[in-house]
């Protein structure tokens, strides 16, 4: 669409719009439910953010609750948890971004180089299965692998002589971020790599053949052909990932970070909202903190998109 620059093409498109729409009306009807769904479930409930500026009383409803301006935002900024929660949210998100984002790309690149079809299929299946398990199960795995009494990892380290006595992984603050990031990579790496594998599959094989004829090694071909070809897709996903930067996660942190000892590194915005807002019926406070998070996410999304557009990518 951005290619439409001169007046005549614009005119042509304007006139053709209705015609084109009527030609593909079945397609438009298929889009319509999605649009309505998004409108009902994503746009309509948005009036609820007004609660953040009220002392919301659940019995009176929004119409009768008193307006209090930015009181709840101030409360959050001045709360003793604020700095800790923000630090954890940013660190955990960045960890997930720096490790969780490139991991599936690397997996896809390597899988693409595997010649044996059965091995490639097997790896793909095995690596994407955890995606379909809920965090309750994954955290159960993690807890039993990392347990002090008879935990597999502790047994392994002890048997190989690397440690003298078992480490209490789940109750030690310094291990929490590593455990969280690894569990996330393990759960999502396979499923996220599917889209990159699809992108790689769409590259014209002739390019590879030509490069091979010119004497490019397999590594060279990966760097000069595969990576540049999937770059647009990578950029799109990167922009989306930046938009989710403050969504450090919820279930994974709540379940893996259940030990009270790790709370100082495990409390993020979402778990904070759940604990201090929803569970204690401070609904306005919860909304204010949630809105704050969304506002920053939108800014980040626009920023990332602007940057991505400079390099030819971008969502819009």
């Amino acid at each position: 669409m951005r290619t439409a620059t001169n007046k005549s093409t614009i005119y042509k498109r304007e006139r053709g719009k209705l015609y084109e729409l009527s030609r593909q009306w079945e397609l438009q009807v298929m889009v319509l439910p999605a649009v309505i769904l998004i409108f009902i479930f994503s746009y309509l409930p948005m009036y609820g953010v007004l609660m953040a500026f009220q002392d919301y009383n659940i019995f009176e409803g929004m119409a009768n609750s008193p307006w209090v301006g930015l009181k709840h935002f101030e409360m959050f900024f001045q709360s003793p948890e604020f700095s800790n929660v923000m630090r954890n949210t940013i660190v955990i998100s960045l960890l997930k971004l720096c490790i969780g984002f490139p991991a599936p790309i690397i997996l896809a690149l390597f899988l693409n180089e595997v010649n044996r079809m059965w091995f490639k299929r097997l790896t793909q299946t095995v690596s994407y299965l955890p995606h379909f398990m809920s965090w309750v199960i994954i955290s159960g795995f993690a807890a039993s692998i990392l347990a002090v009494d008879n935990g597999s990892l502790n047994l392994l380290l002890e048997k190989t002589g690397l440690i003298d006595e078992p480490i209490n992984f789940l109750s030690t603050s310094k291990y929490f971020w590593v455990i969280l990031a690894s569990a996330n990579v393990w759960k999502e790496i396979g499923f996220s790599s599917i889209v990159y594998l699809a992108a790689i599959a769409s590259i014209d094989p002739q390019i590879y053949e030509a490069a091979a004829v010119d004497g490019a090694s397999r590594f060279k071909r990966m760097f000069i052909i595969t990576i540049p070809s999937i770059m647009p897709i990578v950029m799109v996903f990167f922009v989306l990932a930046i938009g989710n930067l403050l969504s450090a996660g919820f279930e994974d942190i709540l379940l893996l970070g259940s030990s009270p000892v790790v709370q100082d590194v495990a409390q993020v915005i979402d778990t904070y909202v759940y604990k201090y807002g929803i569970q204690s019926s401070r609904l306005s406070y919860a909304t204010a903190v949630g809105l704050f998070k969304s506002a920053i996410s939108v800014v980040l999304l626009f920023g990332a998109n602007k940057m991505a557009r400079k390099y030819g990518g971008g969502l819009w």
């Binding site: 439910p33 948890e81 009270p260 201090y276 569970q279 019926s281």
Partner: protein, 548 residues
């Protein structure tokens, strides 16, 4: 072919959408329909409701994450008898594991249940009351004979709200000591190790070391989930120390609330527990293990000593898998272990309140609140309690004695535990009278031969009900969670759990002292003093009300 495929997709997607939209609007209409069912409570001069004349149904919501319906009303012997004779149906609404969200949804959509079963003086009670959503019960109290007589004037006064009216119907209220918390040992291991003296903390330490040496796969000491047992260990380090002090993060010296971090008894307790953790005499997963893991260990006899909120139930070995394969398998509740030199009769593991455990609230959604009250009044009566706890008449008992307690017939011992469980004994009782039920149970147990007695009842009578103290004055002193003090309480609790966890894994006594000091400073910074002042004021008010 291709075209028809496309059509099918369009159809599928749009019908899915229509379904969603209609489901949505269906909910909405339900919501508005219920708004009209406002209360009609103030019917002056109405005759007292007589149950059993016409069918009557009400909805009941258990405001707890863990709560599930005991079963379908009318399918088991107990509720069927009530349905047949009183024509009352109780429809249970469960929280599906998210009680707070469910209640909020019901409030926001005006679909409150007729009865809410929740914590006494809880946040939810307070906000429902403040919003005028609850039915005051004072008018009914005099009209119906049982609740006022059995609960007693002073307990009812304590349950009254700040506006002077009564909204809460107590559950498991009591005028005598009760409680299930304390210490329990694995008797098989204990006997195999020569039954050493197990009275003081020094005895305990050497016993646990012995267990660890001889039974490496057994957890020597378990504090149950969330290491809850620590508060009972605390009360064993000084005479007259209430476990409540740790729970409210403040101990009372003279008449003043002081931070738990400044309590020398607390420091001594956590240092002792820390030593046990460091020497692996307590599971290293003490803070993270789940209830199921503990149950599994108990079921297989893999715990040597347990300290928990409820030791009387697990001590009833007859119901355990372990017992089925091993005739020697046995748990026994023991007198609380304590610091050497203390009077063991002054160790308190079971602070109890005459107000009982929790309450039922009748909401203004109820079409006929008086009928619900009449039913509660009947349930509270001796007859009601007998049916709810010991089954319908003519099954396990036929007659009652002078005090209304049932006299067990021959079925009492011959009917299997499974059958009793299937009859949902105790499960439907939401207005339990501890004094009456416990004394009835006790009277029956004492008429049975020793091997037929229920170990739970025996343990309660011999130990847990003797390590008690009446702490009714602490009832309802905690601030509502959405108030300023409530926010402080939450922060203080969070700081406490984290500090406690770190203390458990600390490597030296100096480190523990430092952690305690830092816990103190952090809590003071978020307003602990303000919270303690609040608690103290409320506590003093209660004491005045009780005339203590």
């Amino acid at each position: 072919m291709k075209r028809s495929g496309k059509w099918f997709n369009v159809l599928a997607v749009s019908s899915a959408l229509i379904l969603t939209v209609t489901a949505c609007s269906g909910n909405n209409t339900k919501g508005t329909a219920n708004v009209e069912t406002t209360n009609s409570s103030a019917q002056e001069g109405r005759q007292a409701v007589v149950l059993g004349q016409s069918d009557f149904k009400y909805t009941f919501y258990g405001n707890y994450d863990w709560y599930t319906a005991p079963g379908e009303w009318g399918k088991d012997a107990t509720s069927k008898w009530i349905l047949d004779n009183k024509k009352v149906t109780m429809e249970v609404i469960t929280s599906d594991g998210a009680a707070a969200q469910k209640l909020n949804t019901m409030i926001a959509s005006d679909t409150l249940p007729d009865v809410i079963w929740t914590d006494k003086f809880g946040t939810d009670y307070e906000r429902l009351r403040a919003a005028g959503q609850l039915v005051p019960l004072d008018d009914y109290l005099d009209k119906y004979p049982n609740l006022k007589r059995l609960v007693g004037e002073s307990t009812l006064n304590m349950l009254r709200a700040s506006d002077g009216k009564l909204y809460q119907i107590p559950n498991w209220y009591s005028n005598k000591p009760l409680g299930n918390a304390g210490w329990m040992i694995n008797n098989k291991i204990y006997k195999a190790l020569g039954s050493p003296k197990l009275e003081t903390y020094d005895d305990l330490y050497s016993y646990l070391k012995l267990v660890k040496e001889k039974y490496p796969d057994v957890t020597p000491l378990d504090l149950n989930k969330g290491a809850e047992g620590n508060i009972f260990m605390y009360s064993g380090f000084a005479e007259g120390r209430l476990p409540t002090y740790v729970e409210q993060k403040a101990y009372i010296e003279g008449d003043t609330f002081k931070s738990i971090y400044k309590d020398p008894v607390y420091a001594e307790t956590v240092k002792y527990i820390n030593k046990l953790v460091q020497e692996k005499l307590i599971s290293q997963d003490l803070l993270t293990q789940k209830e199921d893991q503990i149950k599994e260990k108990l079921n297989t006899g893999k715990i040597a000593v347990l300290v928990a909120y409820d030791v009387t139930e697990p001590s009833n070995t007859n119901e355990l898998e372990w017992k089925k394969n091993d005739p020697e398998a046995d748990y026994e509740v023991i007198w609380p272990v304590h610091k050497a030199g203390l009077d063991k009769n002054k160790i308190i593991n079971n602070p109890y309140s005459t107000l009982g455990w929790n309450v039922s609230l009748i909401t203004k959604s109820a079409k006929d609140p008086e009928a619900i009250f009449a039913f509660y009044d009947w349930m509270a009566s001796e007859e009601g309690q007998n049916v709810l706890c010991f089954g319908p008449p003519g099954w396990l008992w036929d007659e009652v004695d002078a005090e209304g307690s049932p006299i067990a017939n021959e079925n009492w011992t011959t009917v299997s535990d499974d059958e009793k469980t299937a009859a949902k004994l105790f499960d439907w009782n939401y207005v339990g009278n501890s004094s009456f039920v416990d004394s009835s149970k006790g009277k029956i147990e004492m008429t049975l031969p020793e091997d037929k007695r229920n170990q739970t009842a025996v343990a309660q009578m011999n130990v847990t009900w003797k390590t008690t103290q009446d702490t009714t004055e602490f009832g309802g002193i905690t601030p509502p969670s959405d108030s300023n003090e409530g926010l402080i309480a939450q922060r203080v609790n969070d700081i406490y759990t984290e500090t406690f966890g770190k203390i458990m894994f600390a490597k030296s006594e100096a480190e523990i002292d430092k952690l305690i000091e830092s816990g103190y400073e952090q809590s003071m910074k978020v307003g602990h003093q303000e919270l303690m002042d609040y608690l103290q004021t409320k506590w003093k008010e209660n004491k005045e009300k009780l005339g203590k």
